[in-house]
Symmetry: C2
């Protein structure tokens, strides 16, 4: 496996771990059978207060073990941890959930000082991985359990839904809770709740569904009993987003009102698994939304149905089509007015009556097919649905 | 100024601050004259342990002040702080420097599990801003002091140099120190040191130079005495990178071996100041480097000379030219061999003699003009220089 070159004083005692370079990222989470430990296995060097520097001599090697400097430096726990001061994480929900405190960083926000959806999805990925990290059964790589690695299995995400009620802002302190549950017989659900650390007020909720895939054949797999024994003790029956009947996104043909074609992944879009990270698709998806919509609206929900992987040589296209059947198909004023269930109203009429103002407050919905150009036609990588709420005019509050 | 819409229970007591939307980002840092306080002004709600949620009632408003919900939620300190538990930051260097502990996150790394240069620059920006945040004199926005806001001044970066000796890896805990010093009569230097939290070993060093600009006229300005009084108490004479004579990058004409043309900023490239963030240029700059170089080499130094701003409607081009005069202009094997000071050696000869292997270990240097297409020809936004070191073959260490 790949290691980084590093001076030998970075080597320290470590157990021999399965090292495995999964091709598909994302995570699960896990628990040592019967483990309910609150003890920390963090080495002394990591629990030292900031500013205290250990000597290089603390890095010694263990005879007979083949270890990599990478594993030593990452220091992935081999037993369950209850608190991680560096990640500002702790185990909650009676020992099976994870909470992390994060500050919204300057580079995570857009011009309106609120985090981009890409930043939010990155934080969800990060907290999910840290949940697995704390569990003690993370193999190196993008999050499979040791049992999964022994069975050559990886997790693949099949569905993700994020609902943003309010956006946090630059510098704000938020708490992200995440936990997992069963999804059918062979799947796993992972949910998140993002709240203000100061008030507990909910910013966003998210839910996702994961299934297992054979790494070599890329075919879906049942969950082996060995893996079920690892992860099922972590399952709880709690849903961040209540859905009696999850919304299905209807397939579109290849025509759409807005389209970005001939997109190709840049090197900076690749993740640890040498694949285009699924979060990156979202950036391309949202770039198709017209500026006028983004000025007056804010994304409130996104649903992503993942259908196939995207490689770094794939040429992709991002389509965007207003959802039909609503009162208003698209918040855009057309050149000569607005199309309202087939009746065209002149802009002047709408503006004079104040109707336009109200239309701008209506939620808008778009379908986003994200396709790769294949020999036999276009194949869908992701099918997305976004909902956008009208912005409430901002003004300073004078008290 | 822009505020986000938010329920009124998010309003809390706050002083009236100058709110100012700087057009150019980045920061300085500052100190209240005579302040040497170690006292924390953090409100109770922020020093509560994770999981304790304050009631909405703690958010009350102050009569007679015009405040924004945004300011309340950001909670930018109005007095110097010595410790920030959420940012994992503390004041060092006898009260004038700043140290922050960060964990390298899953989405900050590339396929080799080390952070991209863009991620490193983002972390430098973030820690610099948090340094100013802790100082107590940060105005809202991208980092000017209150004195600068009163004088309609913003900081602009004129030079940045980053030297990476070793790369941290995914999950590794690093400490980033940052501090400021004088640069000539009217400028400021900001330096950084990035180290392993476990061992203190240095990963990277960086230095940058900042000058002041009139916000409206976009002309450089002298440092007013009012501002000098704010920031000069923070200056220390300590350099992360020793340079007797900083390297100047020679101007190139518009020809280069590698070029990406017709680049245009995406919405996701814009920062809080509605400009293309200077970190984003670097992504475009490094995309011109050929894959073959990236497979065998790792960036060790980047120097960026900033020359003008880049707006979101600018069409830009990123050029890349191997630095002339070295033994080897470029590490690439050309079709029929390698050009060695004018003598062409066949690949077979090089490979047979083992020369090629050694060439791949040589540092490579590139000049990167980054230009906007103007009416009167191309104008330089940034002039960059990168140096790349040959990767040491990675292998597991068996002990």
């Amino acid at each position: 496996m790949a290691t980084v070159s590093y001076p030998s004083y970075f080597i320290r005692a470590s157990s021999n771990r399965d090292s495995h370079d999964q091709n598909k990222q994302k995570l699960n989470n896990i628990r040592i059978n019967g483990a309910s430990s609150m003890s920390s296995m963090k080495p002394d060097t990591l629990s030292q207060p900031a500013g205290v520097v250990s000597t290089y001599n603390s890095f010694t090697s263990v005879n007979g073990n083949s270890i990599t400097t990478e594993e030593c430096r990452q220091n992935i726990p081999t037993k369950k941890q209850s608190v991680d001061p560096h990640r500002q994480g702790l185990i909650i929900e009676g020992g099976v959930g994870y909470r992390q405190t994060v500050v919204i960083r300057s580079y995570e926000v857009g011009p309106d000082k609120t985090p981009t959806l890409e930043s939010i999805l990155n934080l969800l990925q990060e907290t999910a991985l840290n949940h697995v990290w704390m569990s003690g059964l993370l193999s190196n790589g993008f999050g499979a359990t040791h049992g999964m690695v022994r069975n050559n299995l990886i997790w693949v995400v099949s569905r993700m839904q994020v609902q943003v009620d309010h956006y946090p802002i630059w510098g704000e302190v938020v708490e992200i809770d995440t936990w997992v549950g069963a999804s059918g017989k062979n799947g796993m659900r992972r949910d998140w709740l993002v709240r203000s650390q100061a008030t507990g007020h909910v910013f966003a909720r998210a839910t996702s569904t994961w299934v297992m895939m054979k790494q070599e054949t890329r075919r879906l797999s049942k969950m082996p009993e060995e893996v079920r024994a690892e992860i099922s003790p972590w399952f709880i029956d709690k849903q961040a987003i209540k859905e009696d009947c999850p919304e299905k996104i209807v397939k579109l043909d290849n025509k759409a009102r807005y389209m970005d074609s001939n997109l190709k992944a840049k090197r900076s879009d690749l993740d640890m698994n040498h694949h285009v990270n699924n979060v990156k698709y979202v950036r391309w998806m949202l770039e198709t939304i017209p500026d006028e919509i983004l000025e007056s609206h804010k994304l409130s929900t996104i649903i992503l149905e993942y259908r196939r992987e995207c490689g770094n040589s794939d040429i992709v296209q991002s389509l965007c089509q207003p959802v039909e059947g609503g009162i208003l198909e698209d918040g855009l004023k057309h050149k000569n007015g607005i199309n309202l269930n087939g009746f065209s109203l002149a802009s002047e009429v709408l503006e004079g009556s104040g109707l336009l103002c109200n239309f701008e407050k209506l939620p808008l919905r778009y379908t986003h097919p994200f396709q790769v150009k294949g020999e036999g036609g276009n194949e869908e990588i992701v099918r997305g649905r976004t909902t956008w709420k009208g912005k409430i005019p901002s003004k300073p509050i004078t008290t």
